[in-house]
Structures are given as structure tokens and as C-alpha cells.
């Protein structure tokens, strides 16, 4: 008759304890590094998948407005003072506006990324050029451009503002000079 049956599944008093060897230090480091890299890469990929690149969306919007055949302007052919007073309300003081080389056809307020942007239609020489300006948020590229068919969209930073102009690719150098 056994009086110690209850201990048959566990360690028996007096036995030597089972000691597993420690993991080698370099293995612990490599597992930790792999885990950290996986988390970091996953986070970065998730951010890129969730939030589209801001400048790409702004450029796309600017191109879309440029391609609108009959845009509904809030102001049609505004004077320089009208445009300035309007732009201060839409995007704030100091917003870079088209220079004297551009004839302003119209101006319209749009909302992008839950903040206002000014879309301004201009004529520069024989070219119609659409200009979009918005107060920049976060890190925006200093300069970017995209060709779409015969059009070229150019984006640049001016102080706290992101500016985009869209016009014929062939004369881009000429019309770009009309903007600050």
C-alpha cells in the first residue's frame, strides 16, 4: 500500500531539481532585435496604408480642379485686394498669392484634410493655370512634381504654406515663375 501516491506526479522530495541551461546571450539579443524590427516595420507599413501621402492627395485635388470644365467660383475675376481679403479668411494671413504676372479668373474655397484650402484659377499668357494653397500640416516635401498627360503639377513649400500649381507641361517653366 502506497502512502505517497499524491506526490507521484510532482517532484519527489529529495530528487535533484531540473535546471535547464540558460539561453545563450547572443540568441536573446537577436530575438529581441527581430521582434523590435517586426513591430517597427508593421507600424510604418500600417501608417502608410492608412494615411495616403498628403502631397499626393493635394496634387490630385489640384489636378482635378484644373480639369473641371466650368468651376463654380466663390469670387469671379476678383481684384488683388478682394483676393487678399478673401484668402486671409480661407487660409490665413501671409498666404502666398499669384503675382502680378497672373490674371486671376476666379477663387474658390475647398476643404481638404478637414482644413480650408484656396483654389485660384489664373491665366498666365496663353495658359490656364490652377493654383492651390493650404496651410501645411506636419512634414511636407519641399518640392515635388507630377506629369499627367499634357499637364504638370508642381508642389512647393512657402513658409508655413503648401502651394501647388497645375498647367501645361510644355510651358511649366514660364507659368511657374508667376507664383511666389
Amino acid at each position: 500500500m502506497s502512502l505517497v501516491e499524491a506526490e507521484s506526479l510532482g517532484p519527489v522530495e529529495g530528487d535533484a531539481p531540473l535546471v535547464t541551461p540558460p539561453r545563450p546571450p547572443h540568441r536573446r539579443v537577436s530575438v529581441s532585435l527581430l521582434f523590435t524590427l517586426t513591430v517597427l516595420t508593421g507600424t510604418v507599413v500600417a501608417i502608410y496604408m492608412t494615411f495616403p501621402a498628403r502631397h499626393n492627395v493635394l496634387m490630385t485635388e489640384a489636378i482635378k480642379h484644373h480639369q473641371t470644365s466650368e468651376p463654380a467660383w466663390d469670387l469671379t475675376s476678383p481684384s488683388a485686394t478682394e483676393l487678399r481679403a478673401w484668402a486671409i479668411g480661407v487660409v490665413g494671413k501671409d498666404a502666398p498669392l499669384p503675382g502680378p504676372g497672373a490674371t486671376v479668373i476666379g477663387a474658390r474655397r475647398v476643404e481638404l484634410f478637414e482644413r480650408d484650402a484656396a483654389v485660384i484659377g489664373t491665366r498666365i499668357g496663353a495658359d490656364e493655370v490652377t493654383y492651390l494653397v493650404q496651410r501645411a500640416r506636419g512634414v511636407a516635401p519641399e518640392h515635388a512634381q507630377r506629369e499627367e498627360g499634357t499637364l504638370r503639377a508642381i508642389e512647393w513649400r512657402k513658409g508655413p504654406f503648401t502651394c501647388i500649381a497645375v498647367g501645361p507641361a510644355a510651358s511649366a517653366t514660364t507659368w511657374r515663375a508667376a507664383f511666389p
Binding site: D74, L75, T76, P78, S79, T81, E82, R84, A85, W86, A87, I88, G89, V90, K93, D94, L97, A107, R109
Partner: protein, 105 residues
């Protein structure tokens, strides 16, 4: 020829007339510091369509407490652009800078 009564810019749809005119905007309360004085005025503008400009400015400055008024009883031959330029020049002379909505910097 004189300026009519002030009205909230948000009520421009009700009060601003279509057609050429001169518009004046001011803050509803308080004064703005200018280099040589204080004034409530923020903008003088000659426009070919008072109503369109007032409505566009109301949308652009939504949420700001601004008042507006425009010229009334205008004689036919009046040079409105010249009149507006004189108003603005007088403002610059008194306050040392153009009204704040005209000032890019």
C-alpha cells in the same frame, strides 16, 4: 452719397445689393492695433458686385464676428474706384498701414 448702416457680414445675403459699390468691413467688437493708432476697420474695397464679394467674404471668414456696410445713394457719375482709393489712402495716412485684410504681411 453715404455709407449705409452696419450689418453682420453673415447677413450679407439679406442686405448686400448686387452691382458696383464700395464695401467696408470692421470687427464687431474691439479695435485693432495699427502702427499709428487703433481702428476697428479691416478692409475697404471697390467691387463690381457688392453682393458677390460680401457673400464670398462671409463664407471665407465664417466664424469671425465681422460687420459690413456699403455705399448708398450713389450718384450716377461717381468714380467709385477713386472714392475707395481716397478712403484707403486716408486710412493709411491716419494709421500708418493699409487695413489688415489688405496687408499681406
Amino acid at each position: 452719397m453715404r455709407f449705409g448702416p452696419w450689418y453682420p457680414l453673415t447677413a450679407a445675403a439679406e442686405y448686400a445689393p448686387a452691382g458696383e459699390g464700395v464695401v467696408q468691413l470692421r470687427v464687431a467688437q474691439g479695435l485693432i492695433d495699427y502702427p499709428t493708432g487703433k481702428s476697428a476697420m479691416v478692409w475697404y474695397g471697390h467691387t463690381t458686385d457688392v453682393r458677390t464679394v460680401a457673400l464670398a467674404l462671409a463664407r471665407a471668414h465664417a466664424g469671425k464676428d465681422l460687420w459690413c456696410r456699403h455705399l448708398i445713394e450713389i450718384a450716377d457719375a461717381t468714380d467709385l474706384a477713386g472714392f475707395c482709393a481716397k478712403l484707403r489712402d486716408e486710412f493709411v495716412r491716419r494709421f500708418g498701414t493699409p487695413p489688415v485684410f489688405e496687408n499681406p504681411g
